[in-house]
Symmetry: C2
Subunit: 302 residues, 2 copies
């Protein structure tokens, strides 16, 4: 009876009035079974990102409550900021963390989208894994023209929302809801101050260079330590696991006579990603999170 | 704000009356914040083992409630069984799992011991890490003569309990309370059907053979798979970590031209033991359980 965990990372078009973000954070926090993990606001972008997680149904409720409150507090007619946006609640991705499939997150996105359109009269677009058409997988296509442009074009058939009438909400605009994989920010430090080697390795290991399918990589310099780093985003750690990334970077670095001196995970990482590493190196037969003592204590339904 | 987890594995001198074990299990389960993880009874030994875990104070309360209930339900004057024992509740070890030190578990053992002696009039001996004298680290020394023998000798100064009067409780006898490390049952499978190789490796890697300090090992045969296995108990995974054990067995096996084909963890394992493995192989700099998403959700005090 392990708890099923979904993460949700809604983006709101407000980064200048802390009291507004506080109110939206509060409605999320007040949903039982939901845990607010992080919040960040950017004044120039005039945009905030909240991160919360919990059981799927609780997370969906938290997302609905937040979208509802944001539609009352944020007026897109008055919003200005550098970051592209089409609504008060701009984007809402659901992310499977533990015991939940991507398909379930897609269903969660669709179910929330229907509810937001029906009850709040906000038109909803589905994106990434939840997209109904291929061109809407890409968020940029949906946000083309931003709030002001979409307001004019939403009545065009090709820009009709996936849920709701083809009319912008008078203050909240439109909202994009979807599902995506957990993104692990993983960096590997090299025993060299030659950034060109980090850049070459990055080009080789990332998908666009013929490397690993779910890796985005850049070579950067850590000035304070005077070492080069391969800085990566792992966009699907289940299919391109961390140990595979580590081993490939290590092998590529050897070609330049450069050692891997360390690595780091930025932010939080799902336990499954680390258990995969232990399972791989220890050659564990039949091992899952069910064997971890903490999941028996924490993960039980109470 | 990660939850601190202690495990407790009390042994009771009753393995034939399921209703008695059920009653003891129930008083433990009814303590808020405590989770009963496992129970097992042996008819020949006439003995049962319960495993539960949770916050230190809740676990201590569960242990006290169980000792109290067992003293009412089990009469040592009538108890017979093959396993050595001195009391209704025979042995109570506290085990640090997460966010708790051994020193805290020793304090927990002493505090429970004092309470059991004061309130229940059961004499208490401290053992293993909680032992006050070196000879009482070893449970066998405390249990010498068993219930019947200790009843006669408890008044001798060298057999006086650590807490309470030197008189056996009329029905519950005496109880041993202490603290020990988490025991990980870890087996490594070899690509050979020659058990003599597994035995040689076992002798080499275990502490008694000059190998790793906190490893007990045996070579055994998995008849159904026709392969040999190095079967181990890791008695302190923090000081002798799993990856060190794996690598040493792998290196020793290479000397015989034998590959390691897999490994297995029997029962539950603390998350820290697996994070150590990931930290080692990925050469992670500054990484702890705090970076695991699940601990942020589960491990918060609610």
């Amino acid at each position: 009876m392990v708890t099923r965990i979904v993460e949700c990372v809604p983006n709101f078009s407000e980064g200048r009035r802390p009291e507004v973000i506080q109110e939206i954070a509060d409605v999320i926090r007040n949903v039982p079974g939901v845990k607010l993990l992080d919040r960040s606001s950017d004044v120039d972008h005039n945009r905030s990102v909240l991160t919360f997680a919990g059981e799927p149904s609780a997370v969906k409720e938290g997302a609905f409550m937040a979208i509802s409150r944001a539609s009352e507090l944020i007026n897109m007619e008055e919003h200005k900021g550098e970051h592209p946006r089409i609504g008060a609640t701009d984007v809402v991705p659901f992310i499977p963390v533990s015991g939940v499939t991507m398909e379930e997150c897609v269903e969660l996105a669709k179910s929330l989208g229907r509810e937001v359109a029906d009850k709040l009269r906000i038109p909803v677009y589905l994106y990434e894994e939840a997209a109904v058409t291929e061109d809407r997988r890409n968020l940029a296509n949906i946000r083309r023209g931003e709030y002001e442009g979409l307001k004019k074009e939403i009545s065009l058939p090709e820009r009709h929302p996936d849920f709701g009438e083809p009319v912008m909400h008078p203050t909240a605009g439109a909202t994009v809801i979807g599902a995506r994989h957990y993104l692990v920010a993983y960096n590997i430090n090299l025993g060299t101050s030659d950034i060109s080697i980090a850049k070459k390795i990055a080009r080789q290991v990332r998908a666009s260079g013929g490397g690993l399918m779910f890796v985005k990589a850049l070579g950067i310099m850590l000035e304070d330590r005077n070492i080069a780093q391969v800085s990566m985003n792992l966009t699907d750690f289940r299919r391109t696991p961390m140990h595979m990334v580590f081993n490939l970077v290590k092998t590529e670095a050897e070609r330049y006579g450069v050692p891997v001196i360390g690595s780091e995970i930025i932010g939080l990482v799902p336990m499954d990603a680390l258990l995969d590493v232990a399972r791989h190196y220890l050659r564990l037969e039949e091992f899952s999170g069910e064997h971890v003592l903490e999941t028996k204590i924490w993960g039980s339904s109470t």
